[in-house]
Amino acid sequence: MDSFLTAFFSGTSQGAIYALVSLGLVLVWRGAGVVNFAQMGQAMFTTYIASQLIQNDYSYWSAFVIALVSGAILGAIVDLGLMRPLTSRKNSQLLNSQSMRTTIPVIASLGILGVLKAVAGILWAGEERGFPSPIAANALTIGDTTLAITGFDLFVIGVVFVTLVLTTIFFTRTGMGLAMRASALNPEVTRLSGIRVGSVRTLSWAISGTASSLAGLLVTPKTNLSPNTLDLLLIVGFTAAVVGGLNSLAGSVLGGFIVGYVIAFVNVYSAPENVFLAILVFLLLALFIRPQGILGSKEVRRV
């Protein structure tokens, strides 16, 4: 029972983080038709910025906010500086090829990932460093009984919960949210409604950058920070996104939690080194059984 609770709580708090990563991936996929493999590179970079600020005696919270803002800016830069010119290039023989239209952005995002990692390595040396959490990671106690959940886990769950609620309100209740959904579903009709689809697209990159930056801030107190730490998170987030449905925002969150539980239970009941194998098997199963994802719909899957 005890180990079950441990797995359940750690699955919930880790799953919350995976949900953020997968949400970030799905936002950009829906909004711009690109799976951004540089996403967690961007998050790593902004977490380093926060870490640097904290070292320079800024408070945790100001560093936190600055990191989120730089996540948004970095996302927007990637779109404006690279992805938009790449995909809007006319008369390119290569881009006339269907498969190349998806391949080129993938390669570009790998290039960004490489550059970000190298620059972070050069700026902040290669060795791992810790990253603080605002709340101690001690197991909570009620009276004499120790719970299987730490204060930090609760903090993570709370922050992600608030983020998800805000995101939901943004998408379902605001005009900008409607514009974002519409441009993902049908850019032409959206443009004909007078909405600047290009700007909306940049906004999805920015929001995705913020979400993944938040994921970076929440995960590094446990994993430490190095240029490579967040690589795994990208893969897990990708799996979560595929499981939930690459074109469904709600699905991406659901997928995040599912993968969180899978990993947590493998960790507790099997061995940590089996986690990757579990992810691979899980991903392949998902792809074979339901390639459009749990909440994804088939017809809108981009080819």
Binding site: W29, V34, V35, F37, L82, P85, L86, S92, Q93, L94, L95, N96, S97, Q98, S99, M100, T102, T103, I104, V106, I107, A108, L110, G111, I112, L113, G114, V115, L116, K117, A118, V119, G121, I122, A125, G126, P227, D231, L232, I235, F238, T239, V242, L246, E273, N274, V275, F276, L277, I279, L280, L283, L284, L287, F288, P291, R302, V303
Partner: protein
């Protein structure tokens, strides 16, 4: 009748090019010190893997970020065949081709249902899962470390023929014939009907389907061919000394992709050029950092930085790679003359 004829001509051309490559590398190796001979062996080996990407991504339009994982299949299977069953290295290499082709068949069946980024992500997960697999089945795969294998000694008839040869030369002589053969195979393949079918699927699946092409089958065949090549490369690569998770890392997968991209995804000459770049770039960088006395924090990350920039510059300015640039210049000259 005329079709048969063109095939013959194409066959002659690819034979010629493969032989030229073979002789060129041999002549080059004679000018080189042992270290650079070893690098030439690496080039020959990795070229096979880069060609597999040229075939898969350039010709059939499927992107794989996990060619390293398929190399691992070839590496582990050949190494196991030699160490556990005592087969000869050469037979093991050939069998490794079949094993990885079979693996590619399964992967291709999954991949045919996936497009673009799905495939990219899935192959990346696969590449990252290798250490996990190696540890999970430690008794078979030797866990985190892997196991050591090597090319052995050169056979007597060869040393009798050309005299004593160093380990470095021997590793080149093992890899080079395979590289030339792969080059020959890929050159031929891209000029045959199946090559054209692949390109049709790559450029427009709907149109290809309307033209009566079986999309799924085409994609799976491309995957099988590319996996056979990657597996062969992996087998030769492992026999340099070690078959283990560290050899077939994700970094290797991405490095191979980089080579194919900067050379030009659709060009075989580009694959050769790209392979030279990725193998010699670290040496060049090391020389530069020494000359400039750069601190270690920078020099450690300089190769990654340069490779990232090369990728970005290529997709931004010249998505067809250096091969495309060359063609562009040739065209410009040509039209200039007229």
């Amino acid at each position: 009748m005329s079709k048969v004829k063109t095939h013959k001509v194409i066959g002659a051309r690819s034979t010629r090019l493969a032989i030229i490559f073979f002789i060129f590398i041999l002549l080059l190796s004679m000018q080189f010190d042992p270290y650079n001979q070893y690098q030439l062996a690496n080039i020959s080996t990795l070229l096979i893997a880069v060609l597999s990407i040229t075939l898969l991504t350039g010709a059939s339009g499927q992107i794989s970020l996990g060619q390293g994982a398929i190399m691992a299949v070839g590496g582990y299977s050949s190494a196991l065949l030699v160490t556990k069953l005592g087969l000869s290295m050469w037979i093991a290499f050939v069998l490794a081709i079949f094993v990885s082709a079979l693996f590619g068949l399964f992967l291709g069946l999954a991949a045919a249902r996936l497009s673009g980024p799905y495939l990219a992500g899935t192959t990346l997960v696969m590449a990252l899962a290798i250490p996990s697999v190696a540890i999970r089945f430690e008794s078979l795969f030797g866990g985190d470390i892997g196991f050591t294998v090597d090319y052995g000694y050169p056979p007597n008839w060869l040393t009798n023929l050309i005299g004593e040869i160093s380990i470095e030369e021997w590793s080149l002589y093992v890899a080079l014939p395979f590289a030339a053969l792969s080059l020959f195979a890929v050159l031929n393949l891209s000029n045959t009907r199946s090559g054209r079918t692949w390109r049709a699927v790559r450029d427009n699946e709907v149109a290809a389907a309307l033209a009566g092409i079986n999309i799924a089958r085409t994609k799976v065949i491309a995957f099988v061919c590319a996996s056979a090549l990657a597996g062969l490369a992996g087998a030769i690569y492992g026999f340099r000394g070690l078959v283990g998770p560290s050899v077939y890392s994700t970094d290797l997968s991405l490095l191979l992709l980089t080579a194919a991209v900067i050379g030009g995804l659709r060009s075989i000459g580009g694959a050769i050029f790209g392979t030279f770049v990725i193998v010699f770039l670290p040496d060049v960088i090391e020389r530069i950092t020494k000359a400039l006395a750069l601190p270690e924090t920078i020099s450690n990350y300089l190769p990654a930085l340069l490779i990232g920039f090369l990728l970005l510059l290529t997709v931004i300015f010249n998505p067809r790679g250096s091969a495309g640039a060359l063609e562009h210049i040739r065209h410009a000259r040509h039209s200039h003359k007229h």
